[in-house]
């Protein structure tokens, strides 16, 4: 017996040459395994991200093959490093420019909550200005922890309904951050 584990297919009806499942599940599977990151690296966590993208830990095998620095073409925003109050409007603009569906991972203690820098110039957590999906603790988190965060995000993405971005709850969430969606 080989020890290669195959991923589980979503529940569906299988036949000769076809596989029927719900559209949500199929699209979720496709999205989860091709999340293109926007590495928003500001400080030390950015160097650990560079190590994660290197060949030992290799983020690319989870589908994050093409890091994009243009927000319009990225799916997930990886905020790595301390966000100072001077940088906060820039981060918000980058987030607003991303096209739906978009997810945010706050990598490191500084992005999650301000970290060890409880000062007048540091934003105490990026969830004060943008909604965050996954928090990865650590200072800096090991590359395995960053990979774990991406895998948890993949779980979220796989189980997300297609209509989520149009629901009033999601719109209210964005309104709470002052991001107005014009639909």
């Amino acid at each position: 017996m080989s020890d290669i584990k195959l991923a589980e297919a979503p529940p569906g009806v299988e036949g000769a040459g076809f596989f029927a499942t719900s559209l949500d599940k199929a699209i979720g599977l496709a999205r989860a395994n091709s999340l293109w990151p926007l590495p928003f690296a500001t400080s030390c966590c950015g160097i650990e991200f560079m190590a994660t993208m290197g060949s030992t830990y290799d983020l690319a095998r989870f589908g994050a093959e093409r890091p994009s620095f243009s927000p319009r073409q990225a799916d997930m925003l990886l905020v790595m490093g301390t966000i100072a109050k001077k940088m906060a409007p820039v981060l918000r603009q980058v987030y607003v420019q991303m096209a739906e569906p978009r997810w945010v991972i706050a990598v490191g203690a500084c992005a999650s909550s301000g970290g060890i820098f409880d000062t007048y110039s540091v934003l105490q957590g990026i969830d004060e200005i943008i909604p965050v999906d996954v928090y990865v603790p650590g200072c800096p988190p090991r590359p395995e922890a960053i990979l774990d965060g991406v895998l948890r995000l993949q779980d979220i993405v796989k189980n997300e309904s297609l209509n989520r971005r149009n629901t009033p709850e999601y719109r209210a969430l964005l309104e709470k951050y002052g991001i107005h969606t014009n639909k």
């Binding site: 928003f40 400080s43 030390c44 560079m50 190590a51 290197g54 301390t82 001077k86 110039s121 800096p140």
Partner: protein, 411 residues
């Protein structure tokens, strides 16, 4: 027709510009950089591809280190210094410890000094790996970076063996190290000395005589030594202009005067010279580490900290059983130890230049004032005046070769 060709070959404008909209374009480079250099912004005015003038804006990761340091005891400032130049965190840690030891007038045993030298030179190699690798990436050569980043992973393994952390290491304590380097750590350092030179040689061969790289970098951003000194430059970029100012040689600390190494010096200060100086410094660092390993074997084994019970925490087993150790532990943690009221300025040769710590102490638990003299901050101020008249691609290479680390820039 030949006048036309001669105008093209001498880089002069060929066609008359009759466009009434004769204005310069303002381009905003940053703060979110595609090349992962760090968060700093340059607003440049460009005429076609040529930069006419530029203004730098920094402070996008200002974390108020100096203010935090006024509220923390000495041993809690070490993790702060990690995050200054996070690519070579051990150098910052050691520099800070040496500053405090200078203030407290603590003598460090030779073996500990040699261990510090090994850690600092490994960190210097790690920083130069990133700088030269990213310089390669900016010219379009991605593979070199990937080859040497793997070696950086091995340096991380060595740091993990010594202190437990990869990047923000918090190595060492005031008075020495928290634990001895175990046999595995020494084994890994020796293996690094065997496995890194071939990789560095391969990396060198990709760039040093590479025609495309030479044409991209040679002659770009040349700097005269007078100008560089006037702007307060230090480190590899100053040595690339021809000034052999290396603090390890001029004001030796941590027994560097006992080591035999050369200080590479460039000729014109252009980007190619800076690359070559950093490259050669990596070879010299390997020499220093080899000598340090030999010297450590001659010293009495097992010594990893100075005998200063007033400032160095006793081992936990003794704290729970021995009354004296308990008292020392309490005094150190609560800050009840008498410390001299003095000011001290100590600088070490960081990977980017002179990393200085100006410490004013008033006898309390935390410093009265701590100022970091950060090389990236001082080096980067010349970038905006220097980029006037350059092409954008040359300015990007210039910025990349200055090795500006955002954590050190803003502190």
């Amino acid at each position: 027709m030949s006048e036309f060709i001669s105008k093209i070959t001498s880089n002069q404008p060929v066609f008359e510009d009759n466009d009434p909209q004769d204005e310069l374009i303002t381009l905003n480079i940053g703060p979110t950089h595609p090349a992962t250099h760090g968060v700093f912004q340059n607003v440049v005015q460009i005429d076609g591809e040529r930069i006419v003038s530029g203004v730098s804006t920094i402070g996008y990761i200002h974390r108020a280190f100096e203010k935090i340091a006024e509220h923390r005891p000495f041993y809690q400032i070490t993790p702060l210094t990690d995050r200054l130049n996070y690519c070579s965190a051990p150098i910052n840690n050691m520099g800070w410890h040496m500053t405090v030891e200078k203030l407290l007038e603590i003598e460090i045993p030779k073996r500990v000094q040699y261990m510090r030298v090994i850690v600092m030179e490994l960190a210097r190699i790690a920083d130069h790996i990133i700088c030269n690798g990213i310089l390669g990436v900016d010219t379009g050569a991605f593979s070199g970076f990937l080859y040497v980043m793997q070696e950086r992973e091995f340096i991380y393994e060595i740091f993990e063996e010594i202190c437990g952390a990869r990047l923000t290491t918090n190595i060492g304590r005031i008075g020495g190290f928290e634990r001895d380097f175990n046999a595995v750590a020494f084994e890994k350092i020796r293996e690094f000395l065997k496995r890194y030179p071939p990789v560095l040689k391969e990396f060198e061969e990709m760039f040093v005589r590479n025609r495309i790289f030479i044409e991209r970098t040679s002659g770009v951003a040349a700097v005269t030594p007078e100008e560089a000194l006037d702007y307060g430059w230090s480190g590899p970029i100053l040595r690339a202009t021809g000034v052999d100012y290396d603090i390890r040689v001029q004001n030796p600390y941590c027994s560097y005067e006992e080591f035999d190494f050369d200080v590479p010096v460039g000729a014109t200060g252009d980007v190619y010279d800076r690359f070559m100086v950093r490259n050669e410094e990596m070879w010299q660092s390997l020499r220093i580490i080899e000598q340090a390993l030999e010297k450590i074997e001659k010293e009495p084994q097992g010594v990893f900290h100075a005998e200063v019970p007033d400032f160095y925490l006793p081992p936990k087993e003794q704290v729970y059983t021995n009354m004296e150790a308990l008292i020392y532990h309490f005094k150190i943690v609560m800050g009840e130890v008498d410390t001299p009221k003095a000011e001290v300025y100590h600088s070490v040769e960081g990977a980017n230049g002179e990393l200085g710590f100006y410490l004013i102490h008033d006898g309390g638990r935390s410093p009265y004032r701590l100022h970091f003299r950060r090389p990236s901050f001082v080096n980067y101020q010349m970038f905006a005046p220097m980029s006037a008249g350059m092409l954008i691609s040359d300015a990007i290479l210039n910025m990349s070769s200055l090795n500006v680390i955002a954590g050190e820039l803003d502190a």
